[in-house]
Amino acid sequence: MSDEAVNSEAGFLLRFSPAQRVEHFVTMVDFVGLVLTGLPQKFYTARWAQWLIGNLGGIDGVRWIHRFFGILLIVAVLWHAVGAMRAILSRKVGFSMAVNKRDFTDAVTTLRYYLGLEDHPAAFDRYDYKQKWEYWSLMIGNVIMILSGLTLMYPAVVARFGPGEIIPAAKVAHSNEGLMAFLVITIWHIFNAHLHPDVFPFDASIFTGSISRERMAHEHPLELARLEGREPGDHGHGH
């Protein structure tokens, strides 16, 4: 075991650095804040929405809270972008979220496995294709939300530089993209981080930072092999 990140005694490995854990925590709180103050504005005629808005200080208060979390999101995304740039530039770490051809073949292999056409699912590296898809969806979604949100915050400024129609278009985009993010997170993220049979009831690695060697071998065999200085496939799959 050459890597310091591997704690062989307890059979646990370090998966996320403290900075990454903080980033996830901030994003999580921020997301909840944005959803709680955003969705009731979209569905404002519903009773639950009016109850929520009333309890969060009325519509004027809710809009200020939403803006606060929106600006926090901008900061978080910029912070993340700087970190990602540094990772890309340092040859040692690299950019493990980069999508490559293998992710597409992995997706096909895994779907074939679900359908019974393949004996084993694809073996994944640090992030599997589902995680990359969620990451990139979130990233693109964040950019859309930030740009459309700023447009809605400063409509008169935007109309000075572009057609006025951008503003209602931004509203439609903000409202739908936000709803989609909420639905994707509730369905996909909650399934994969909570209800997934491998991690049920709760995948705590993003909070504790560590992951069991057993789970690594099962979910990220390629990364594990690399960390342990082996050729992938030495141990075969986690099964």
């Binding site: 779907l111 679900y114 400024v157 109309a159 572009g162 951008i166 439609v172």
Partner: protein, 347 residues
């Protein structure tokens, strides 16, 4: 006549000791108050209080065959009348105004929530009381004809009435068109809301919507009934609806109907005087949106639903998400279902 008067008076006076609580009959009052049109009383203010009652006008009024004089003038059952220290004519009106509530209690209670009562309570003696709008002896049905309502208000609110008279609604009222709103349709009659607080303008969607969502009425003028729905679906409508419960000046920030279309001066949108006429829009939007420039008004889709023709960009974004959201969610759900199915099969 004098002979008859004396006879009647004699009967009343004779009956008085026994039936003092029974008010004098109409005729006996009119014996004095119905005969001489120039009958007046001098008040300390120098005003003359007319004491003549137009019998024919009272007879034709809504109360003509219901009320007797003393039903309202309760303190005048005895003769000679007890003298009251009225300084001026307004004193007389104020002193008698609460007589109406004996019968019209629910409308009287409503006035207690009205702006006229609020200012009266603060000491404004000119604030409208029942008789200022309804009249006293010649009370008719209030909205017959409807045009009378706004004219009644104009007795005090002359300036606003003149503005209203030249608006699209006011012009039609003057031509006898019963479809358009008169003052009380928006402001209400007895519990007249204080328009200065801003609470009224947050309710405009509901107030204007009463007519502007009525298909039968709007069809007559070729107007859309979708104006309120499209307003409520957008940002202004959302914010205004949620601010509705609030009162006070600083609280509101979302535009209601009247903030763009005008209040008493509403004109057709194709009228050059209209605040929502294309050429005037930058100024109208600029009332709230500081720094609004020529293209800013296009941020509002003028009550139109986005379409390929009207707002292609907005329409495209909408279609994009209508397709994308179900596609993404369905893909995710199918993958989760397949995954779980595989887990079950493997066991």
């Amino acid at each position: 006549m004098p002979m008859r008067f004396i006879l009647v008076l004699a009967v009343v006076l004779l009956a008085a000791p026994v039936r003092a609580e029974i008010p004098a009959e109409q005729d006996s009052c009119l014996g004095c108050h119905g005969s001489d049109p120039s009958m007046t009383m001098d008040l300390p203010s120098g005003e003359k209080l007319p004491l003549h009652v137009d019998q024919a006008a009272f007879g034709k009024s809504v109360h003509g065959d219901i009320l007797r004089c003393t039903d309202c003038h309760t303190d005048k059952a005895d003769y000679p009348h007890e003298s009251k220290p009225f300084k001026n004519r307004r004193d007389v009106t104020v002193a008698y105004y609460e007589q109406c509530k004996k019968c019209h209690f629910s409308n009287y209670t409503k006035t207690l929530d009205g702006v006229h009562f609020q200012v009266a309570e603060k000491g404004n003696r000119q604030a409208a009381l029942c008789v200022d709008c309804h009249g006293s002896h010649a009370i008719g049905r209030p909205a017959e004809p409807r045009t009378r309502v706004s004219e009644t208000c104009s007795n005090c609110h002359k300036k606003v009435f003149d503005v209203y008279k030249s608006s699209v609604h006011g012009k039609a009222v003057t031509q006898g068109n019963p479809d358009v709103p008169v003052c009380t349709d928006c402001h209400r009659a007895h519990d007249v809301a204080d328009p200065r607080a801003g609470a009224l303008s947050l309710r405009t969607a509901e107030i204007c919507g009463r007519c502007h969502t009525d298909p039968k009425l709007m069809k007559r003028y070729g107007l859309s009934t979708n104006v309120v729905a499209s307003y409520l679906a957008d940002f202004h409508g959302m914010a205004a609806s949620l601010q509705k419960g609030k009162k006070g000046k600083g609280d509101r920030l979302a535009a209601g109907c009247t903030d763009c279309h005008g209040v008493h001066d509403i004109q057709r949108p194709d009228d050059p005087k209209s605040s929502v006429m294309q050429a005037n829009l930058v100024k109208t939007c600029g009332k709230c949106h500081a720094g609004a420039t020529a293209d800013f008004p296009k941020a509002w889709m003028s009550h139109y639903e986005p379409s390929l023709k009207k707002s292609p960009l907005v329409w495209s974004v909408q279609i994009f998400y209508y397709v994308l959201i179900p596609f993404i969610l369905l893909s995710l759900v199918i993958q989760i279902a397949l995954h779980l199915w595989r887990v079950v099969v493997n066991r």
